[in-house]
Amino acid sequence: MKKNWPLWEVFVRSKNGLEHRHFGSLHAADAEMALENARDVYTRRNEGVSIWVVESKYITASNPKDNGELFEPAQDKVYRHPTFYDLPDDVKHM
């Protein structure tokens, strides 16, 4: 028997209409247990209306080693931000 239960990532939607956000992780032997543990660990102070759990091993993450090629090219391309338009004064909330 393996000593530790697998790790799960927990996503909680705090209000209807908002998106699920990553809240943290926990250990659980199966999906049902992960959901119940997430409910008890992360939503006992009224933080959520919906919970997703996914076993951490199913998340593919980018490697920090690749940050140069993945993210640096975007750093000097300010023209990709829509900040060069003259906005009429009447347009609000932009």
Binding site: A28, N37, D40
Partner: protein, 251 residues
């Protein structure tokens, strides 16, 4: 006391939650994993929340200046009316979950009926408590299934716990004199009405994971009338220590 029967009836409901809550509270910081530790103490807090509503109501009926805390902390062993099952010790995690499961199935069925009580306060408390109890039932049933269906060892431990605790299940369906009067007045719950349903529900889950349903016809009772097992004194010593040592202490 004018409403002594109702007062005692409320205690018999509330004491179940208090004593189980105390047992679960013992696990705080000692649960088998961080997650189950929090889960068990969460359940304990749910139960204590229910207990407060019941004791506040009881204190009002008593009308002799005693508060909910006095009722919870300052009675003698014979005055506690919880069923014997709930004072049984936290022998291991299988016992803890089996005890929880055997109670939760009863608790949900009981609260369903208590919602229909002609006493509006009891009916309102039941209405609120049943959501919590339904979650507890889901949590403990899942653990009974998980251990029953897990490794050879976990199966053995769950079977042992079920066998040992089975002897206390029949007490749920023992009607005391107080119960009978309350049923007559449509305030109390006629527990016999859902006895079959209780065992059907319990047995179905045990069968699902090939746990054997104990066949014994030997059952213990007494808690509902204040006659407790040897574990109760130790439990109360811990529960009451602060109030007995520092009377009237609060924070």
């Amino acid at each position: 006391m004018k409403n002594e029967t109702l007062y005692k009836y409320i205690l018999s409901i509330a004491d179940n939650s208090l004593i189980l809550g105390q047992r679960l509270g013992e696990l705080c910081g000692h649960g088998p994993s961080l997650e189950t530790d929090i889960a068990c103490t969460n359940i304990a807090l749910d139960l204590l929340g229910q207990v407060r509503s019941y004791y506040q109501y009881a204190a009002k009926l008593a009308g002799d200046g005693r508060t909910e805390d006095d009722i919870a902390m300052l009675r003698n062993e014979r005055e506690y009316l919880n069923v014997l099952l709930l004072e049984q010790p936290n022998t291991d995690f299988a016992y803890i979950m089996a005890r929880q499961f055997l109670f939760d199935v009863y608790h949900v069925l009981f609260l369903q009926e208590l919602q229909k009580s002609h006493d509006v306060t009891l009916s309102a408390i039941a209405n609120k408590a049943i959501k919590e109890a339904s979650y507890h039932q889901r949590f403990s049933s899942d653990w009974v299934k998980r251990l029953g269906d897990g490794t050879e060892e976990s199966h053995k431990k769950m079977q042992t716990a079920i066998n040992d605790l089975w002897v206390y299940t029949d007490e749920f369906f023992h009607l005391t004199e107080i119960d009978k009067i309350m049923v007559e007045k449509s305030i109390g719950v006629d527990v016999l009405k859902f006895k079959d349903q209780y065992y059907n529900r319990v047995n179905k889950i045990l069968e699902q994971v090939t746990l054997i349903i104990p066949e014994s016809n030997y059952f213990l009772k007494g808690g509902k009338e204040g006659i407790h097992t040897e574990h109760m004194g130790y439990l109360l010593t811990e529960l009451q220590y602060m109030q007995r040592t520092y009377p009237k202490m609060s924070w």
